[in-house]
């Protein structure tokens, strides 16, 4: 069964050997492989197929405005996925935040108030979500489903109630969120830095990952499991509230299905970034960062290369399956263990 002996490791002889071991390491760490390989492939394929139009200064701006909300949401969602949670209310909650943002902006004209309200609202939704799932011992997916329907219901109701469109009256106020690419870049950097810090350098991130792998051990190692989960949801809420302001600034008005589909975008993005949705020690913020960029490049590249928008969903679906298949294969290939 077990035996405490290691064979003398062969000394790495030549650089060829080193290169090979590097390759083997890459293969064995399939998450990184998907993360960087997927990014590289998407970048290369669309750079060629669009004849360089992918990098035109106009398109770069489009990319930036598409990446910003997705990336900020994804880095927040990493906290939920890492501890083994699953959430499909992103789109509806973000839509609700956008709706309320419009009301607040039109009433007060204060950007600060919009930011605060949007973030608080998302945090509230996510905290309720977490508490429901903890209090009733419900699967987090199911409680998020409830939140999703509730939020979507409020949006639909409000849109149906008003005869005219719910839109931002003074578009200038939020222009920095929709036009300033420097501001978007700064916001992304800020979101990544803060979440990366929380995730890699504090108790919260470390305990969240431990809970994702083994909640029992995490508890017996001093993690207050319920509190850690709640804090993870709060972090996700902050990110989603913040990102929603970028979304509404870009669109300008609220429609019935605002934000819908966002939840799937986030999930596909983090998977594209090589994250396993069951969470645990392999979770990385970089999965969300690289994954979001890859995802946006993919959607944008597809339409730029003239692929009809009819097919885009289909292609995304196929891609999703392929990557899930790859990560599943990995689980089957885990080391054989002593019985």
């Amino acid at each position: 069964m077990k035996k405490e002996r290691t064979m003398p490791s062969e000394a790495p002889e030549q650089s060829a050997g080193k290169l090979r071991s590097l390759w083997e390491q890459l293969i064995s760490d399939r998450n990184s492989f998907i993360r960087y390989g997927g990014f590289a492939v998407v970048l290369l394929v669309f750079a060629l197929s669009t004849g360089g139009r992918l990098f035109s200064s106009y398109n770069l701006k489009v990319l930036m405005s598409q990446i910003t909300p997705l990336l900020i949401m994804s880095v927040g969602m990493v906290f939920i996925f890492a501890h083994g949670g699953m959430d499909i209310s992103v789109g509806a909650v973000s839509g609700l935040c956008s709706l309320v943002s419009v009301y607040v902006l039109n009433a007060t004209g204060s950007v600060l108030a919009v930011l605060l309200v949007s973030i608080l609202l998302a945090v509230l939704c996510y905290s309720i979500n977490c508490l429901i799932s903890e209090f009733f011992g419900l699967m987090s997916t199911i409680s998020s489903l409830a939140i999703m329907f509730a939020a979507r219901g409020i949006i639909t109701f409000n849109v149906a109630q008003t005869s005219e469109a719910i839109r931002i009256q003074q578009t200038k106020l939020l222009s920095v969120f929709s036009d300033s690419y420097l501001f978007m870049a700064l916001a992304c950097v800020l979101a990544v830095l803060v979440t990366w810090f929380l995730f890699s350098f504090t108790k919260l991130g470390k305990q969240a990952r431990a809970i994702g792998d083994n909640p029992l051990s995490a508890r017996q190692s001093g993690a207050n499991v319920n509190l850690v989960k709640l804090l993870c949801y709060v972090v996700a809420g902050v990110c989603i509230g913040f990102a929603s302001v970028f979304s509404i600034a870009r669109v300008g008005s609220v429609s019935e299905n605002i934000g819908s589909g966002r939840e799937m975008d986030v999930i596909i993005a983090v998977i594209l970034g090589g994250m396993t949705l069951s969470g645990g020690c392999k979770s990385r913020i970089s999965s969300a960062v690289i994954g979001s960029i890859t995802f946006v490049l993919l959607s944008n590249g597809l339409s730029l290369s003239g692929v009809s928008s009819l097919y885009v969903s289909l292609i995304k679906g196929a891609l999703f399956l392929i990557i899930v298949f790859l990560t599943l294969r990995q689980n089957k290939n885990v080391l054989e263990l002593p019985r």
Partner: protein, 511 residues
């Protein structure tokens, strides 16, 4: 009669990651013999039998079946080659009938126009059961109606129905009653008479000596000796297994039960769950052993002392030394332990009996496992830098001589002994002064056991308060200053460390 070679292995080797489990084993199994396979935990017995029966892949080396190369692709393939194994764990499926369990995967045999001829299947199953003298089991019944022992018999009936040439019994008998064992021995002898080969793996030396014709002794994955029946002698076999004469310094050698004055952990009248009015005190520099059968409540006691009990009465208190909390200085005092958070604050460390499921995080690295309980200590105003984690983990790795390729290796790749070292290190590294170890040497091989015992003794000398819960009496008698025996949730007897204390004196208070 010339013995006929059935199975031969040449240079059979198995590696689990960095760990070499079986090392170049050349073994011959003959038709018409009962071969015993013996060795300590981790010596490679189960791994060899798993390779023969196709459950494990072979890392290197070859196997030959009657001279033909043999590469089983799985358990089914092995069965096609007339090799069948009965494993230690339950191998039946709840919710199916006995007959369905016996012919799992072979339903096609009873196919009749797309349906299964249940009557025929039950008839055949009855024959299979009758063949091993298990007529009390009804083939049409649901398997749920039968206990563990009967289920084992069902598995055996299933195995034998395929008329194996080699029948492997892997530690099956440990869980069986005297009667059940007798039945299996009888079946093995019958197979031998029919000229079949039997490979019998057990921990029970007298049992092996009684039934086997030859014993193959394994140690650290290597084949040490084949001992023929005429040379069977208990002490000789034991010595061969261990590779040295066991005595003296295996456990601690002193018989001085003295310890510090200070009570570090105190339980008063704990009642609730499986516990009934349990009181105990654990002093500085003392090792207290808790012994009993696994249903005696002793494992729950360990959990209760760590703040995980469901107590209706009584309380647990731990000593908190002088400390600063925030800006305030706090006097040394006793604090009640009501939750894991309280236990954490009082520097209590706990290793569960089910180490892999409750104490360690298997997919995570050694570093993550070591630091997860010490995050407060490592943090500087809440910020935990990678370098502080690395230094901490590296120090613990060296202190406890954890064998690994690096601190970034996943814990699941380590051997049992090294996993347990990680569990020890995670609490001692954090600075826990009160240590509750449930089954500290479970699944740990003998070399590491010795180091564990030395370590426990050193910790005692350094003033740690240690509580060991164990199902292994020799270990408890060998290590404890005081030994409490539990039965039905109560403490039935207390022994103080004494040279003349024996297993048999203790055992009567357990059962």
């Amino acid at each position: 009669m010339e013995k006929q070679l059935f199975l031969e292995t040449r240079g059979l080797t198995k590696r689990f990651g960095e760990v070499l489990a079986v090392n170049h084993v050349d073994m011959q199994i003959f038709s018409g013999e009962i071969r015993g396979l013996i060795g300590e935990n981790g010596s490679g017995k189960s791994t060899i039998s798993s390779m023969i029966s196709g459950l494990h892949t072979v890392t290197s080396g070859e196997m030959f079946l009657k001279g033909e190369p043999y590469h089983p692709s799985g358990a089914l393939d092995a069965r096609r080659h007339a090799i069948v194994m009965i494993v230690q764990e339950v191998g039946t499926i709840d919710g199916l009938s006995v007959a369905e369990n016996i012919f799992l995967g072979e339903e096609r045999r009873f196919g009749k126009g797309g349906f299964i001829d249940k009557a025929a299947m039950i008839r055949e199953a009855e024959k299979a059961l009758a063949a091993i003298g298990a007529e009390n089991i009804k083939a049409a019944d649901s398997i749920n109606r039968y206990n563990f022992e009967d289920r084992k018999l069902v598995e055996i009936a299933r195995g034998l129905w395929y008329q194996p040439e080699l029948f492997i019994v892997d530690e099956t008998t440990t869980a069986l009653s005297h009667e059940g064992r007798g039945k299996i021995h009888e079946i093995m002898r019958e197979l031998k008479k029919q000229g079949k080969a039997v490979l019998f793996i057990s921990h029970d030396l007298p049992e092996l000596m009684e039934t086997c014709d030859t014993l193959t002794v394994l140690r650290d994955g290597e084949l040490i000796a084949n001992i023929a029946k005429e040379d069977f002698e208990e002490s000789f076999i034991k010595q061969t297994m261990v590779g040295r004469v066991i005595e003296g310094d295996y456990y601690r050698s002193d018989f001085d039960p003295s310890h510090g004055e200070k009570v570090m952990l105190r339980a008063e009248n704990l009642t609730g769950g499986s516990l009934q009015r349990i009181s105990l005190e654990l002093h500085e520099g003392e090792i207290v052993g808790i012994g009993g059968l696994s249903g005696s409540g002793m494992h729950d006691l360990g959990k209760a002392l760590f703040g995980m009990g469901h107590l209706s009465e009584g309380k647990v208190e731990a000593w908190l030394p002088e400390r600063t909390e925030g800006r305030k200085r706090r006097e040394a005092s006793y604090t009640e332990i009501r939750s894991i958070a309280d236990a954490f604050r009082a520097n209590i460390g706990y290793i569960s009996k089910d180490r892999d499921k409750e104490t360690l995080i298997l997919p995570a690295s050694i570093r993550d496992n070591l630091t997860i309980s010490a995050l407060d200590e490592l943090g500087n105003r809440g910020v935990i830098t990678p370098s502080s984690e690395r230094t901490f983990a590296q120090t613990q790795k060296e202190n406890f001589k954890i064998k690994c390729s690096s601190i970034n290796q996943p814990v699941k790749e380590l051997s049992g002994g090294n996993k347990q070292k990680v569990s020890f290190a995670k609490w001692i590294g954090k600075g826990s002064r009160i240590l509750i170890f449930d089954s500290p040497t479970r699944g740990v091989d003998i070399g590491v056991k010795t180091t564990m015992y030395q370590l426990l003794y050193r910790l005692k000398k350094e003033g740690y308060a240690i509580l060991i819960i164990s199902e292994e009496l020799p270990e408890l008698i060998g290590m404890s200053d005081r030994l409490l025996i539990m039965k039905d949730g109560k403490v039935t007897k207390e022994f103080v460390r004494d040279e003349n204390l024996t297993d048999s004196a203790v055992i009567e208070y357990m059962i």
